[in-house]
Structures are given as structure tokens and as C-alpha cells.
Symmetry: C2
């Protein structure tokens, strides 16, 4: 990637695009930056409320962290800031009894940011980014669907002016609960929903028919959330003069965040220890999602994401969040798509968006006070709906049943057991499936294709065989994980072909034999010898032979031998 650039650009990917930055790029980025900034205000506030923390933590997380990421990240279009799934995970962490008992949720949120950053940087240093390989796509989709359903359950009451229900399984209680809805709030919610759908669906279609330019349509349609918030806020003011009241965001402190290094370090210790597992899960999901989103947009433009550098970019972005009073951050799907669709060329767009947000927070924070929570809840609900992919389970199931089960179990795990338990269940399923596959290697009894020196699976080809000679090709490295299976396969075949005097293991595909497998081969050989059969190997590769020669394996094998070619073994033993 950076073969032609300085090694500095390796550590500061921003140099990579700044060098060739042109005026036209800036025009594009300016436009995209403004559009994204318009989305950042309601999202920042809404995700903080979703996470159960003061709104400014979401706004602050949208200023310094994206600036840090712009310098260190490899994606040109990823919009870093608060994201929905991480927010519900933060809510889950902050509402767990152990964390509630510590008090001061704001402080806990900052500790989560700091820990996320440190975990990401540790993963970078220890080169453990590939750990995330072991969350399969179906598990991730199942988790995201489950988390999104939890978000919906969390936000729906807000659209009705209700607190979260505490009815458990009592259906009658729910009936009572819903009857307590606030009609003014419901009215605001319905108007907000109509406005959002108008801007996101109806308006773009109509404008397209009128032949309006695509980028302009994007710009107009993305103003929906801000306009909704604006109108809803005005409505609240009008309604309050009429004696009606609805839940609003409340006072957002004016001015830029202060650096909170001391606050953060003071509260580490017990709090940090209690939050660490939560931070681990949040980081894992945030990183996987961010890289997936970054890759998706990069692929569309033939750009390249370097996952190891993303650990650094996102790691420092989270530390920046902690130091500037922000909640944990990641790459957000909806914002990134908006940024991309609005024509962003580079991270300059995000620098512009962050600057605009900083100005808004500095001078216009009093405008945020009267935003009704219901309008923000509707914005979240509309944004989150596409993440609930129930149909995906059926598609996955149809393609690969095991993957379908993993997706369903993870989804149900999130809903029934909780977010952290759900993702743990998914990870365990993934590892178990991996181990299962590893312990069932492909093995074939082979025979000779007539008039050739080719040996093929007797089940698939018409081949010559010999009744006292068993040729077995093992298509995987021999290890503790699969040697028992190989042993059982051989035993079964010997029962089927009891006249066998010589067994030849064909090692064409074997690149390694570990200690456990070696000892198993030795005792297998002993057992075969005691019943008058010989064990032989054929076609072993150089490195395998070298490794075996370090032991007395070939001595033990006698009269069994190591043949160079299967053909040699057949000529001598057949």
C-alpha cells in the first residue's frame, strides 16, 4: 500500500491523501461535511440518551475523536462517533448492578471510552487484530439484530412519553402501562415519523422524477433529521405556552469540553475493573463493525483498509473521547453511508463536520435544551429498523444450516440472556464449530486410476484396488485435534477390509504432524504390528520427513517404510 510513500505515512495515513489533495476534493468534502454535521447533532444527543448518560457526552464524542481518527485511520469516508449498537451496550453496562452501585454513570462512561482505547491499542501492539476473525458474519448479524430489537424496546416508550415498563411477564400490567401514554408526545412522534419518511422516501423519489441532481437530492433528504428536530423543538415551545409538557433533552452545557484526564485517572481502580469485561465486548463489536463498514465503502472506490492501522486509529479516537468527556466511539453505518453518498473524498469531510459541531456546541447549545426526546427516539427508530435482519436468518439457514443456527441462537441469546451473554454465546458457538470442523478432516480411501499413476477416491472414481493393501489419503495436517478421528476412520476401514496386510498413509496434503499425532501414529503402528500388519507412509513432504527424522519413528515403523511415491508403495506391496 505505502510502498511509494514515506514511512511516516505508514503511521499517519492522513499524509497519504493530504499530499495529493486538490481544490475539487475540498469542494466535495465541504458539502459532505456539512451534510454529515447536520446528522451528527441529533445522533450525538440521541445515542447519549440511549446509553443513559447526559447528552453532551454524545456531542463531545463527535468532535475530537473523528479529528484524531482522520489523522490516524485508513478509511477515507468512515464517520467516527457514537454508534447505536455500542450505545445500547453502554446502557447495559451502566445498568448492571455492580456498576450502578458505584454511582456516577458519567464517570463510568468515560472509563469505558478509555478502556476501549487501551484495549484497541493493546490489540495493535500484540498483533491480535486477527482475533476478530473468530466472530463469524452470521453471529455478528444475529447480534446486531438482537441489539437493535433491544434498542427499539428501549426507545418505543419514549415516543409515547412513558418510562420503560417494569411488568415482566404480566400481560395485564402492560395494558395498564400503555394506557398511561402522553397524547402530546405521541402527536410529536407521529409528526416526526411523517417528516422523516417524507424526507427519506417520498421527497427523493419526487425530486428524482423532476430530474434534480443526485447530490442535491442526497443533501435535501439528509436534512430530514435536523428539520424534524427543529420543528419538534418549536412545537415544544408552542405547546408549553399552552400548558402541555413533554420530555425534553434538558440543559446541555455550553462551550467546548474540558480535558478530563484527572477525572478519568482518579476513578480508575474498582470502577475500571468492574467495567473491563463490558469494555471488552463493546470494543470487539465496535472494531468489527467499524472495519466492516470501512471496508465496504473502500471496496466501492478501490481503496484499501489496513485493519491493524484501524486498531490504532480507533484506539486513539477512543482515548481522545475519554480525555474530552465523550462516550466510546466507533464507525457508524448510517453516518458513513451519508458521508459517502454526499460525495466525501477524504477525512477532510469529517474534519469539517467536527468543526461545525464544535461551533454548534460552543455557541448554540441552548438550542438543544428543548429538543423533545420523542423526536430523537423516532430518529433512532427509523435509523435502526434496517439493522433488524430477521429475514437474514432464513437466507443464512438456506445457504448453510450451521451458520443459520449460530445466527438464530446469538439473536435469541441477546434477547433472552442479555447483550454480553448473547455475544459470548456466539463466540463460543463459533469456536466450537471451528474445533468441530478441525477434528473432522477429509480422508479418502484411494485406488489407482487404470493405466495411470494417479490415485483417486474409490467412492468417486473407477479405480484399481488390492484386497491386502489399504491406501488412505489424509487431506489435512495431523494434529491433536484430528488424530483420534483419523484413527477411528482407519479402524473402520480395517474392519471393512479384514485381509489388509499393509496400510499406506498418503501424506500429499500433510504439511505438519504435531507431538500428539506423532505419538498416536506410534501407538497405532504398535497395535497394527501386534496383529501382523505394516504401517507405511507415502509422498511425505520434505519438512515432514525432516521433522520425523528427528525421532526414531522410521525405526519403529519397520518393516513399514516411507515411500517417495504412492506408485512405489503399490509396486512393492500391491
Amino acid at each position: 500500500m505505502f510502498d511509494n510513500t514515506s514511512s511516516l505515512a505508514r503511521f499517519l495515513p492522513i499524509i497519504d491523501w493530504l499530499k495529493t489533495y486538490r481544490r475539487q476534493d475540498f469542494t466535495d468534502d465541504l458539502f459532505a461535511g456539512i451534510i454529515t454535521a447536520i446528522l451528527l447533532v441529533p445522533q450525538g444527543i440521541a445515542y447519549a440518551i440511549l446509553a443513559g448518560i447526559p447528552p453532551q457526552l454524545g456531542l463531545y464524542a463527535s468532535i475530537l475523536p473523528p479529528i484524531v481518527y482522520a489523522v490516524l485511520g485508513t478509511s477515507r469516508t468512515l464517520s467516527v462517533g457514537p454508534v447505536s449498537v455500542a450505545s445500547i451496550m453502554i446502557a447495559s453496562a451502566l445498568s448492571s448492578p455492580a456498576i450502578v452501585s458505584l454511582g456516577n454513570p458519567l464517570q463510568s462512561a468515560l472509563v469505558l471510552s478509555l478502556e476501549s482505547g487501551v484495549i484497541l491499542l493493546l490489540m495493535a501492539v500484540l498483533r491480535m487484530g486477527s482475533l476478530v476473525n473468530f466472530i463469524s458474519h452470521p453471529v455478528l448479524v444475529g447480534f446486531t439484530s438482537g441489539a437493535s430489537l433491544l434498542i427499539i424496546g428501549n426507545q418505543l416508550p419514549l415516543t409515547l412519553g412513558l418510562k420503560s415498563p417494569s411488568c415482566g411477564m404480566d400481560v395485564a400490567c402492560y395494558t395498564n402501562y400503555i394506557q398511561g401514554f402522553n397524547s402530546t408526545t405521541l402527536f410529536i412522534s407521529l409528526v416526526a415519523l411523517a417528516l422523516l419518511l417524507l424526507f427519506s422516501q417520498l421527497l427523493p423519489m419526487s425530486l428524482k422524477k423532476l430530474g434534480v441532481k443526485a447530490t442535491l437530492i442526497t443533501a435535501i433528504s439528509k436534512c430530514g433529521p435536523l428539520l424534524t428536530v427543529l420543528l419538534a423543538t418549536i412545537a415544544v415551545s408552542v405547546l408549553s405556552t399552552m400548558g402541555q409538557s413533554v420530555n425534553v433533552v434538558g440543559v446541555v452545557p455550553a462551550g467546548l469540553p474540558e480535558f478530563t484526564l484527572i477525572g478519568v485517572t482518579e476513578s480508575l481502580g474498582q470502577r475500571g475493573k468492574a467495567l473491563l469485561p463490558f469494555a471488552g465486548f463493546i470494543t470487539l463489536i465496535a472494531y468489527i463493525e467499524s472495519v466492516a463498514i470501512a471496508k465496504m465503502t473502500a471496496n466501492l472506490r478501490g481503496e484499501k483498509i489496513i485493519p491493524s492501522q484501524e486498531l490504532i486509529g480507533l484506539g486513539f479516537a477512543n482515548i481522545a473521547a475519554a480525555l474530552s468527556g465523550g462516550m466510546p466511539v466507533a464507525g457508524g453505518l448510517s453516518r458513513t453511508m451519508v458521508n459517502f453518498a454526499a460525495g466525501a473524498r477524504t477525512q477532510m469531510a469529517m474534519l469539517i463536520a467536527a468543526s461545525l459541531l464544535a461551533v454548534a456546541v460552543m455557541f448554540y447549545s441552548q438550542w438543544f435544551t428543548n429538543i423533545p426526546k420523542a423526536a430523537l427516539a423516532v430518529i433512532i427508530l427509523v435509523a435502526i429498523m434496517p439493522l433488524v435482519k430477521i429475514k437474514s436468518i432464513f437466507h443464512t439457514w438456506a445457504y448453510d444450516k450451521g451458520d443459520g443456527i449460530a445466527e438464530l441462537v446469538t439473536l435469541l441469546g441477546v434477547l433472552v440472556l442479555g447483550l454480553e451473554q448473547g455475544i459470548m454465546l456466539g463466540i463460543i458457538l463459533t469456536i466450537a464449530s471451528n474445533l468441530r470442523k478441525a477434528s473432522h478432516p477429509h480422508i479418502a480411501v484411494v485406488g489407482r486410476v487404470p493405466d495411470t499413476e494417479h490415485y483417486r477416491n474409490i467412492k468417486r472414481h473407477h479405480v484399481e484396488t488390492w484386497h491386502h493393501l489399504l491406501l488412505i489419503r489424509i487431506d489435512e495436517n495431523l494434529s491433536f485435534a484430528n488424530i483420534n478421528y483419523i484413527e477411528e476412520f482407519l479402524t473402520t476401514e480395517l474392519k471393512r477390509q479384514p485381509d489388509t496386510r499393509h496400510i499406506v498413509l498418503i501424506f500429499t496434503s500433510v504439511s505438519d504432524i504435531d507431538t500428539t499425532a506423532l505419538e498416536a501414529l506410534e501407538s497405532l503402528n504398535q497395535a497394527l504390528q501386534s496383529t501382523g500388519k505394516s504401517l507405511n507412509i507415502a509422498e511425505a513432504k520434505g519438512p515432514v520427513l525432516d521433522k520425523l527424522k528427528k525421532t526414531d519413528f522410521f525405526e519403529q515403523l519397520k518393516p513399514g517404510q516411507a515411500f517417495f511415491r504412492t506408485e512405489d508403495a503399490v509396486k512393492q506391496l500391491g
Copy 2:
């Protein structure tokens, strides 16, 4: 195995050998049974003391459990009863603060037996016996060495008449501690050691030179422990009349054990829950060791062990232990080797040994009272020494560095962190190494062997290549675990060969593509298309093609294609 026997023999392996049992077999088994019984008395008492429980729990565990195993187990020579490594694990469980606080260690030991039995039967029912595949041999050896060192540390003070030290890291304290040794006890220990070595080493060698029959030599040499115990007990009686006292076993209740079903079930609940993780580890190790020992002796005689039936045999043996007041049981290495060397043909030998022990417990239990603990400790120490395989680490390291590290880390983990932590560390290492291997599949850039249709690795063979055609053979199923690695490999190759216009993935060895891999292939294809390159596949097997045809993958691939043979792809794109 039982193709020719009734299905009853499948559930009761004893039928398998009873049907063909001859007089000569009985003569052999009688001899072996007597020899093994002689070993059972001191071992049973010693392992109970090692586990920190009353001596009768070790004796009772040597009566009913081996009888149950004889009926249900598939090994003809395995000697089931108390074993050293499980005993130190029981000691570790019973001395953990949570278990100590519950009081009544005897009850806890019985709960451990019951839980071990239930876990083994559950593994049998859920067909989870193959789970143990994921403890590799080096991890097991490391664990056994570590556990044996802990046993040595536990038993050495007994040979000096001392209690376990509580000095921590204070060297001066140890000097003081050792000076408190009891010279009478040390004298007994040294005499016991001399006697044991005489019988196990010197006497057999001398007798062999004199031309004495091998079985007789075995019989004589195996009397060492009992003779040692006998002489030591007499010495204690003599010394006590002289006013000298040493630690002795103490009163062992006379008579056979009573069935303790009620006692066990009463104390389940909190105790059961607290002991469950310990029972899990004990069971895991006991099962793996038992099957390994059973396989070893079976291999020597061309017999066959069925691991799934072993779960049932050992499971019921442990439940029998719990019900008859015995500690957890497993197959013991030293006893089984003695039984085997003494010429045991079938489990009849163990039935005889168990009967003899029952008679001893019924009528001669008062003889056990004055056995000095020091003599038993020396017996354990002599038996355990060969299990400390420090050299093995170097051998393993020389053969396979990764396995050597796993062995060393598990050993150190046991010593530094504790038994349960050590084995957990080993299991985690094993799974991590497995995942690592799974995520690095073998991939080769291939070219055509001139004048043939064979395609081989360009690094190993002189082959034709084409500068705008990249042929890549992937030697493993595509899955979430390895798809990222495959993607990175391809990216690197494309950088090396920037003129590439067509990429052909050769799927000769690919039997499955999971959901994650499919989606990665799709986005890879998208990325390649955006830079004007085509992605193609060749030699995909029927099942893989069928699975892909369920999706729109081939539509997306266009103009890329699925070629039947690599040759076809080269003819068209080369």
C-alpha cells in the same frame, strides 16, 4: 468390534470375554488379581491421605467401583480405583476457601465422586467424549508433571514427620522448619525407601540373573509395597513401646462400606454447586488418563478400547464410588501396569483383587491403624517420580516448538497458579493454537507444468505463468476463520503482480464455503471489479457449486466465470 456379538454385549462388555472364558484365563487372572490387591491396600490408604480425607474413602473406592467397571468397561486390564493426580486435585478442591467453609470434607469428597460420575454419563449421552481431543498430549504431560511435583511437595514433609510448611518465600523460615524434623520418622522413611528400591530394582535384576521365571519376578517385586508397610507397621509398634511416636493412619472403620445415597443427596445444593468446577477438571483429567492407559495396554495385545463406552464404565464406577462411600476413581497407571505385567487376561483379575480387598477391610482393618504415614508417603513418592517428565519438555520442544511451549506453560501454570488454573491455561493454549492454525490455510500461486495440464506451486516447480493471470490454489475449506487471511494473501499477490487482469481461484481442495466466506468473496469481487479485474473460480466440486447456485454469486461474478478445469480458464483468459 461387536459385529458378531449380541447387542447386549455392546452395553455389557463383560459378556464379550465371559463367553470365551477358559480355566487357564482364570489361573492367570487369579495370580494378577492377588498381586494387584497387594498394591491396592497401601495405594488406597495413601491416596486418601494425599487427598486429605479419611483412609477408608480410598479403600472403599477400590472395592465396588472396579467391580462396576469390570462389567461396563471395555479395557480388560485397566485397574480402576483412586489415582494420584486426581487425588491431589481432590486435595486442591477440598482446601479451597469456598469448600473449606462448608465443612465436612468427607461429604465433599463423595459429592465429587457423584458429580464425576454424572459428568461422564452426560458426556456419553451428549456424545461429547471427543471434547477431550482438545487437550493435546504435551499439555497433558505438562499438567501431569506439574501435578506430580505438587504431590512430591505435599508428601515430602510426611517423610520427615513434619506438617506442610507455611513459609511462603521466606528462606530462613524453611531452614527453621526443616530443623523440626522427627528423626524416628526419617529413619522409617529411609528404611522404607531402601526396601522399595530393593524390591523394585535390585531384587528383580538379581533374580533375572538367576534365571527365575518372569512372572514370578513380577510377583515378588510387586510385594515390595506391602512388605514395606508391614515392616514399617511392626517398627511403629516396637518403637512405641520404646516411647517413640510417629504419625500413623489411625483407626479405619471395620466392615464393608454402607450405602450412602441419602447422605449424598442431602448435601447436594450449595456444596454441589461449589464443587462442580473442580469435579469438571478432575473428570476431564481422569477420563483422558484412563483412556490413554487403557489404549496403551490394549494396543500391546491387539485389543480395542471404545472411548464412548469408557465414559459409561467410568461414569458408573464413580457413581458406585459415591454410593459406597469412596473417593473419585479412574484408571491408575502403576496398578494397571502391575496387573498387565502380572499376566491379567481379563477384568476377572480386578474382580478378584476387589474381593480380596473387601475381605481385608471386613476382617483386618485394625491392622491398618498403625501404618506410619511416612511409609505410605515414600510409596507414593517412588510411584510418582516417573510421572515428572521434565526432559519431555526438551524432547517435545526439539520436535515441535509450539508443543514444547504449551507443555512448559502448562507445567509452570500448575506450579505457580494452581492445578485448575494450569489445566485451564493448557486448554486455552490448545484452542488458541488450533484457531491459529485454522486461520492460516495453505495457499499457493500455481503455474502450468510445461507440456502438461498439471498446475503446481510456482515456488516449488518450474512452471509457465502469465503476467495478467493469477492462478491461486486454496488448500482448505473457506470459512470465517481463514477468509481474511486468504483476502490478504490475494492483496499481497496483486501488489506483486500489478498487471493482473484475471484472478482464478482453484477450488480443488475446497469442500465448503460458509456464509462469512461467501460474503467476503462477494465484496472481494466487487473491489476487484471496481479496479477492472475479474474474479473466476475453477475446479469447484459439485456440492460447492450446488451451494453457490442457491445464491446470486455467479451473477455477481460476471464477467468472471466458474470454469470446470483450470486448463479451461487458462485457455480462455491466458
